[in-house]
């Protein structure tokens, strides 16, 4: 049974990053689309399945599709946009660092390079909010190092 955690509000402006893009032969300043930056995050622990679920909430929510990364991790990605909307991790097998590594791998294997900044922001959020997110996971499922 999942325990519901409140959404942790994020400040998307903090995760903004600017880059340069060439359009029609000219270089333009482009920042991340606000649709690619989560507005909120939350972590839930599913006691029955011993799975920890991290969810991201975006400006424009959409249906998600599941993508099995390996036996311990499932990613939930936006059906239309491909954005990272959720992560299901087997907490008996891995800790937060291991989850971050799987996200890295998923971003590298991602077909659309457009999504890389979105995955990078998701990773940054998990790292920065690790304490708040992981607090729902019972102590016995929190490996010492990963």
């Amino acid at each position: 049974m999942a325990t519901n955690q409140q959404w942790l509000a994020l400040s998307p402006a903090e995760f903004q990053s600017d880059s340069e893009q060439t359009l029609k032969g000219l270089v333009f300043h482009v920042s991340m689309s606000p649709y690619d930056i989560p507005q909120a995050v939350r972590g839930e622990f599913d006691e029955d399945r011993k799975r920890f679920v991290i969810e991201f909430r975006y400006i424009s929510p959409e249906e998600t599709a599941s993508r099995q990364i390996d036996e311990h991790v499932i990613l939930h990605v936006g059906e239309n946009s491909g954005r990272l909307c959720g992560i299901e991790a087997d907490v008996e097998a891995m800790n937060v660092n291991a989850v971050l590594l799987r996200i890295d791998r998923a971003a590298e294997e991602s077909i659309n390079p457009r999504l890389k900044p979105n995955y990078d922001v998701a990773k940054k959020i998990i790292t920065e909010k690790a304490r708040e997110l992981w607090q729902r996971v019972p102590a016995q499922f929190q490996p010492a190092a990963g």
Binding site: A13, S19, L23, F28, V30, P34, Y35, I59, S60, N80
Partner: protein, 220 residues
């Protein structure tokens, strides 16, 4: 009286071959138009949102005219009735704008599948991978030399002829592709006659606008 009713029924029957398909066609056309135009209440709400966003982003504009700093919502349509141009190439049409002036816009920009052929800042915003920020554009005047006009045209994705004819006064832009349920819907363009826009304010306030727009546009 009875005879007249009978005559009326007879006439109706005689022209049924024409009246029935015409009515069906008309009903279909009205349905299509209604779908394309959307719910007027939702558009009124969208207008309020754009006004609110505009006022937050340009809170330091003081007594400047409303139309010197605007927010315009463009909708991407696969076809539009246009003269002398291919109507099915994909277009960005202005559907809502902040303020109460410059509401009748003739601006219609191409946004075809072939991204290199997109036009205007809206077109560039449609194909950019993120939010486009353009500022410090030159101030155009009658008699501005060609180099300045060419530079302005290239930076805003329009033709030299367009710039020469209209001498646009906008000096800074922000354009972002608007999405509904993860699907591109159109483009939101912020433009200002000031040399630059406070982009961090745009980033800060877009969250609320984007969230409500997404909800409204699902119902339009």
């Amino acid at each position: 009286m009875g005879t007249r009713v009978a005559e009326l029924l007879q006439t109706t029957q005689d022209f049924a071959w024409l009246a029935v398909p015409s009515c069906l066609f008309l009903a279909g056309l009205i349905g299509l138009l209604k779908k394309r135009l959307g719910d007027p209440n939702m558009w009124a709400f969208a207008h309020e949102l754009l006004d609110d966003f505009r006022n937050k982003v340009f809170s330091d504009a003081g007594s400047d005219y409303q139309h010197h700093h605007r927010v315009t919502l463009f909708r991407h349509l696969r076809w539009v009735f246009v003269r002398r141009r291919w109507p099915w190439s994909g277009w960005l049409c202005p559907v809502e704008r902040s303020g109460h002036t410059t509401q009748v816009s003739k601006a219609l920009f191409r946004a075809p599948d072939e991204a290199d052929d997109s036009e205007g800042v809206a077109g560039l915003g449609w194909c950019a991978n993120g939010a486009l920020k353009i500022d410090k554009l030159p101030e155009l005047r009658k008699g501005s030399n060609d180099d300045i006009l060419v530079s302005y045209a290239a930076s805003t994705g329009v033709s030299l002829e367009f710039v020469r004819t209209h001498l646009p006064k906008t000096r800074s832009f922000y354009a972002v592709r608007v999405e509904v349920k993860g699907v591109p819907w159109g483009v939101l363009v912020v433009d200002s006659r000031k040399e630059t826009i406070n982009f961090s304010k745009v980033d800060k306030h877009y969250d609320v606008l984007g969230r409500y727009l997404s909800l409204i546009l699902q119902r339009i």
